[in-house]
Each structure stands twice: as structure tokens, then as C-alpha cells.
Amino acid sequence: MKKEEIELIKDGKRLDGRGFEELRPIKIEVGVLKRADGSCYFELGDNKVIAAVYGPREMHPRHFQDAKMAVIKYRYNMAPFSVDDRKRPGPDRRSVEISKVSREALDPVIIKEYYPKTAIDVYVEVLQSDAGTRTAGINAASVALAAAGIPMKDLVSSVAVGKINGEVVLDLNAVEDNYGEGDMPVAMVARTNTITMLQMDGRFSQEEFERGLKLAATACSKIYELQRTALLERYSESIGEGEA
């Protein structure tokens, strides 16, 4: 049986009941870890990720220091039990690439000049995976950076667009990703419509690509609101705690 023949859309709805432009449910919790300077738990459907931020802190080995600004490091890592077939611990080529593009997705909003010679470490652990972990990781990391007090111009929001049964749809889950025709993860500064990550595989016409990009932009705006709200709540809580 050919992969393409699987029916992913029925009566205008996707297999999990979503419409074409509908995100999976999102849950955000800020400050879930004690040791990290900032942290965020992020759920996107069945994806469960945590991001932690340490820094600015001493960069070593020293010869990697940048005399003019902080160096951002990003480590995307999957827990062995986060996927269907156990993943061997340690970085593989996929996680190396995702770490790079995720770092570059966040890089434009961090004001690195404030902390020369330091490192800002961003760690993302994927605890459960259902397609879209890199976008969930970037969303979590963006909030964790803010929670850690890292000076930022804005938040970064991220989502993927895909193509299933010839339709451009938002935020593929694992089944759609496996049997679909294309995937396109995007990260944006939602308020300024600035694209900070853009990847694609599969096959899109130029028109589908442009439509997808707009879809992503709209979704990133929604995610941005959720990120903001989560940070705001956390902030009020800590004020509350302070007063208590």
C-alpha cells in the first residue's frame, strides 16, 4: 500500500476532528523547575516538552567566549521513552540540526550585548512526542527565557504547517506527518511578522507555500497571546507570593 493513499481528511475534518486551520490544545506552565533560572512546560496536543534556561553565566571553555555579547546555546533532546521505538540517549543528526535552527529562531529577539563573555543555555527536553516537538520546544524556550529575566525584544512563537491529502493545514500531528505530503515548521516574532525559522520538506506549490506561511502567521499570533498570558499569570502569582 502506498503511503499517500491513507485518508487523512473526512467530511472536511481531520482525523482528530480538527478543522484545517485549527491548532491542537495548548497548555503552558511557567516556572516548573527549581534549579533552572527560568523554565516552562508546554503541551501541544500530545507533545509534552519542558524548557529550562540557565544564565547569563560564565562561558567555558573560555576560548568560546564572545567579547561583545552573550553566546546562546540550545540543546534539543528527546527522552528515550518519548517516542514509539525507544530512542538511544544522546544527540543524533536530527537533534543537532533542530538545536541549530531553534537557536537561530530565538537569537534575533535576545539582547545579547548586555552580557558579553557569558553563555545563556537553553535546554529543551521532549518528554512525549507527537509531531511538532521543535515548535513546542521553541515556544517553551521563548517563555523560559523571559521567565529567566533574559532581556528580550519580544517573544518568539512557532508552529508547523503541513499538507495532507492535497490540503494545506495547520499543525500536523504524528499520523498526519507520517502520511502527509509535506511539513513546514515556522517560527515568528508574531507582533512584527518577522520569520526567524523556516524549514520545509515534502512538496509545496509556490501558492501553497505562501498560503501556509500566512496560516502560520495567524497561528503564531494566537500562540503569542497564550505565551503572554502564561507569563502574566506567573508574574501576578509571584507578586501575590511576595505579598503573602
Partner: protein
């Protein structure tokens, strides 16, 4: 340098406080921090548990996959225990291959389960000499506020108790629940200035010079022990630590593992 001085001061503070009969967080010497065990949190895993002891957070996932048995035990399943001290969990953890601390953590948890024969490995044989179930116990440390071993060991046994055998996924048939025969529980104590403290938090762990983990079973027998740290222990101290170990293990088993 400044940091080191702070650490010395903190150690002295913990030490002095204990000298006057108190712990930094107000607990009794034999008292654990709040424990919570949440099972089946990861649906990709055959078993899982999120364990919190105070602010220490460990997530354990159990996966089963068919694999080849060892040639000297052709009709037994295989246990593989692995621990990742991911850098998220502490400013002291570095990315990279497992260091001696993660190796020790994994091996102590593993020995507790193996020594007690908790898993009936012969029931995990699919085809003698050819195919058996490999049980992967992966310990993922998310936040380290001390006493990782007890949290990891508790997460491991809690995950195993709820784990199922994914026969269908691999086109096999048979019993779907893991054959679990015992409930080993690890209890760690440290010695600080002649006092024995259960469940050390991170400050206490750093102030202590010796630590003993005692793993005991439902029938009160011991199935694992590991001393660590740069100082020795007297025989009577070990005896007290074993005593506490068995007692506390009973309480934890009763409360978090009996269903």
C-alpha cells in the same frame, strides 16, 4: 572563588543547624520531604511515573521491545537501566555521555530491581535463545534538589508495576501485564556531624561526607546497598542506616506502591 566561599558557608550553616537538632527545612532527622508519584504520564512508554520528593523531580519511563537474549540466559528477558542527568536538572550537570554519577545512579537502581528478582525474567521469554522482551528503564532527571536515588528507584518500581507488555504492537500474543514479584524501595541517609538524616536535600547532600543507600523489599530483606562519599562510616552508623532504610521503605511502599 566567591561561589566556593558561599558553598563553605552554606555547609557550615547546615552543619551547625543539625548540631542543634534541626534541619534546614524544619524536618525531623528521619522525615522525608513531601513525596508524590504520578503514574502513566507518558503514553509512548509502556509504563511511566513522575516522582517528586520535595523539589527533586524524576521522570521514569519503561519501554519494552523484543530483542535477543544473552547467550548465558537464553530463556530470560533482559533489563537495561539507564539514567540521564540532563543539564536541565542542575547547573552542575553537563551535556555529554553519562558520567560516573549517572552510571552509578542507573546501576544502583538496576541492582535493586535485579537483586530482588522483582521482574520474573523467565516470563519475558518469547522464543528461547532467539527472542525475549528487553525492558528498558530510562531515568530522566528533571530537577535535582538532592536524593536522586530514592526518587529514581521509586519511579522505576512504580513504572514497572503499571507497565504492560506491548504484544500487539509486535504481532505477538500473551499476558499483557509485566510479571512483578516484589517492590524494592531505596532509602538514602547521610551522616553529618555524627547525626543520621534520611532523604537529604541538596544542601545536606553537599554538607555530608558519607551517604548510604539501602534498598529493601516487601519482606524486609535487603537487595542492594551503596555507600558513597569521601568519608567512612562506623559499623553502628551503618546498622542505624539499615534500620532506618527498612523502616522508611515500609512506609513508602505502603503509601505509594500498594494499590
Amino acid at each position: 572563588m566567591g561561589f566556593e566561599i558561599m558553598e563553605d558557608i552554606r555547609k557550615d550553616y547546615v552543619y551547625d543547624l543539625i548540631g542543634s537538632g534541626k534541619r534546614v527545612d524544619g524536618r525531623g532527622f528521619r522525615e522525608y520531604r513531601a513525596i508524590s508519584v504520578e503514574r502513566d504520564v507518558i503514553k509512548r512508554a509502556e509504563g511511566s511515573a513522575l516522582v517528586k520528593i520535595g523539589e527533586t523531580v524524576v521522570l521514569v519511563g519503561v519501554k519494552l521491545e523484543p530483542g535477543e537474549p544473552f547467550s548465558d540466559a537464553p530463556n530470560e528477558g533482559v533489563i537495561m537501566t539507564n539514567a540521564e542527568l540532563v543539564p536541565m536538572a542542575s547547573p552542575d550537570f553537563e551535556p555529554g555521555p553519562p558520567d560516573e554519577n549517572s552510571v552509578e545512579l542507573a546501576r544502583v537502581v538496576d541492582r535493586g530491581i535485579r537483586g530482588s528478582k522483582t521482574i520474573d525474567l523467565e516470563k519475558l521469554c518469547i522464543e528461547e535463545g532467539e527472542k525475549v522482551w528487553m525492558v528498558f528503564i530510562d531515568i530522566h532527571v528533571l530537577d535535582n534538589d538532592g536524593n536522586l536515588v530514592d526518587a529514581a528507584a521509586l519511579g522505576a518500581i512504580a513504572s514497572l508495576l503499571n507497565a504492560h507488555i506491548p504484544n500487539e504492537k509486535y504481532g505477538l500474543s500473551g499476558e499483557s501485564s509485566l510479571p512483578i514479584r516484589d517492590t524494592p524501595v531505596a532509602v538514602t541517609t547521610v551522616e553529618i556531624g555524627g547525626n543520621i538524616l534520611a532523604d537529604p536535600n541538596l544542601y545536606e547532600e553537599n554538607a555530608a561526607t558519607s551517604k548510604l543507600t539501602v534498598i529493601s523489599n516487601a519482606d524486609g530483606t535487603l537487595s542492594g546497598m551503596q555507600k558513597s562519599g569521601s568519608d567512612g562510616l562506623k559499623e553502628e552508623e551503618v546498622a542505624e542506616m539499615v534500620e532506618i532504610g527498612i523502616e522508611k521503605a515500609g512506609e513508602i511502599r505502603e503509601r505509594y506502591l500498594v494499590t
